[in-house]
């Protein structure tokens, strides 16, 4: 690997976009005290909606414990509609360092992935005139714990860095009213090593999350993500868009989501780039996310 290529142009561009945003946020926080703005709360009930991140973070000095589970594709009764099929699971912890910043760790069964995550709320939607949306940046790096032999490159070499993959996302969300919240995001996934049939390491995409809250504790969730630069990948390998539809019940410190979706990757770069379950073939699978939050104030 040529060292000049260590920083990809897209990654550097991303930093140029994000760092000023952080600087701007810091400048604002150091400014003389202004009348406090009243921010919109509860755009989403959780930091995760089905297979996507949301603009939400855990409360300051709070710890979220999350279990995410995906069964097999719903095919027929022979494997109990996917319940007896190979499944994927992730267990993770996320800690709210400040009201805007959280860090998290997790482990995922498929591909033996360990992940480190960070999420920063750049600015928040205000109740009155001011900021119409909430913007949040999310980043994660995943490292596979699979044996080194699984990461030999086409030149017969093993590099530790080839066990790494990355994901960046910039989310913009608006709570339209007490029932409806919508979120749009741009995503960037990067794999240090990938099958040559993909012919690329960088994947750009967009995602959508919608919430319709129909009772004080219950909501309908929809999420969708789509990669923009995969048209050159052969059709039988091409990553497929992911759609999820689910039900969420939230009791404040507990959230439970049960849903059907197409991707079983859980980690964001995995469920975008390695999803081959097709909407046209209705390759849906059953999944759930459970979150418990503890406060340490």
């Amino acid at each position: 690997m040529n060292s000049k290529k260590i920083f990809s142009a897209k990654s550097i561009a991303l930093v140029f976009v994000l760092v000023p945003a952080f600087l701007s946020a810091q400048e604002n926080s150091d400014a003389p005290a202004k009348p406090s703005k009243e921010f919109v709360k509860g755009t989403f009930e959780n930091g995760v909606a089905i297979n996507n991140q949301t603009v939400e973070n855990p409360l300051r000095k709070s710890l979220d414990f999350m279990i995410q589970h995906r069964f097999g594709v719903i095919k027929d009764e022979k494997d109990m509609f996917g319940l007896f099929a190979p499944s994927n699971i992730r267990m993770g912890l996320t800690y709210g360092i400040t009201k805007d910043l959280s860090v998290g760790i997790g482990a995922t069964k498929n591909r033996y992935l360990f992940d480190l995550q960070g999420k920063y709320i750049i600015f928040r939607q205000t109740k009155k005139k001011g900021t119409p949306v909430t913007a949040t940046y999310y980043v994660d790096v995943a490292k596979s714990a699979q044996e080194d032999d699984n990461f030999i490159n086409s030149e017969g070499e093993f590099k530790t860095a080839n066990k790494l993959s990355y994901f960046h996302e910039l989310m913009i969300a608006r709570k339209i009213n007490s029932k409806i919240s919508l979120q749009l995001a741009g995503t960037y996934s990067y794999f240090n090593i990938i099958d040559s049939v993909y012919g690329q390491h960088e994947f750009y995409g967009v995602s959508f999350v919608g919430k319709y809250k129909f009772s004080p504790q219950s909501s309908l969730l929809v999420d969708f993500d789509y990669l923009l630069n995969v048209s050159d990948i052969p059709e039988d390998t091409r990553p497929q868009p992911n759609l999820g539809i689910g039900y969420e019940v939230s009791t404040g410190s507990h959230q439970f989501q049960i849903f059907i979706c197409l991707a079983d990757g859980i980690i964001n770069q995995e469920n975008r780039v390695f999803n081959h379950n097709k909407l046209s073939e209705q390759d849906f699978l059953l999944g759930f996310n459970i979150t418990r939050e503890w406060g340490f104030k």
Binding site: T98, D149, F151, Y166, Y190, D195, D236, D264
Partner: protein
């Protein structure tokens, strides 16, 4: 805390974009041109790598790939697409084109030769020969 909340995202985003490589995996299959027999070429692969305790055997994960049932399970449960061999579910699982990659994490993957034999068997009509 304010300084911390400022520097941590910057440090995180910097850390998470360094160390980028642009490598491709070594080829996962080699071309097998000769005739392939299910009994003598494919069954030994399945027996050694798939039909092992608590994996693809009777009473464990589907499909049951023990020698007596492997052919019926692979062809009857839709794991083989002889009209488009590279699109076969079994081929996509062992090459990592579909999740979960098989054999699962923690176990050695099939060798390019083994994958080549399975693809060639499908290309030759997925016969019980």
């Amino acid at each position: 805390m304010k300084k911390f909340s400022f520097y941590l995202p910057v440090i995180l985003s910097t850390l998470l974009i360094v160390g980028c490589e642009k490598d491709y995996f070594s080829p996962k299959t080699v071309e097998v041109t000769g005739p392939v027999s299910f009994a003598t070429d494919i069954i030994p692969i399945l027996t050694e790598d798939c039909a092992i305790a608590s994996c693809h055997v009777s009473g464990a994960e589907s499909p049951n790939l023990a020698a007596a049932s492997a052919f019926d399970e692979l062809t009857g449960l839709g794991y083989v697409d002889a009209s488009n061999p590279a699109n076969s579910r079994v081929y996509k699982l062992i090459t990592g084109a579909s999740n979960p990659v098989m054999p699962p994490a923690g176990n050695p993957l099939l060798s390019p030769e083994e994958i080549g034999y399975i693809l060639a068997w499908i290309e030759q009509g997925a016969q019980n020969n």
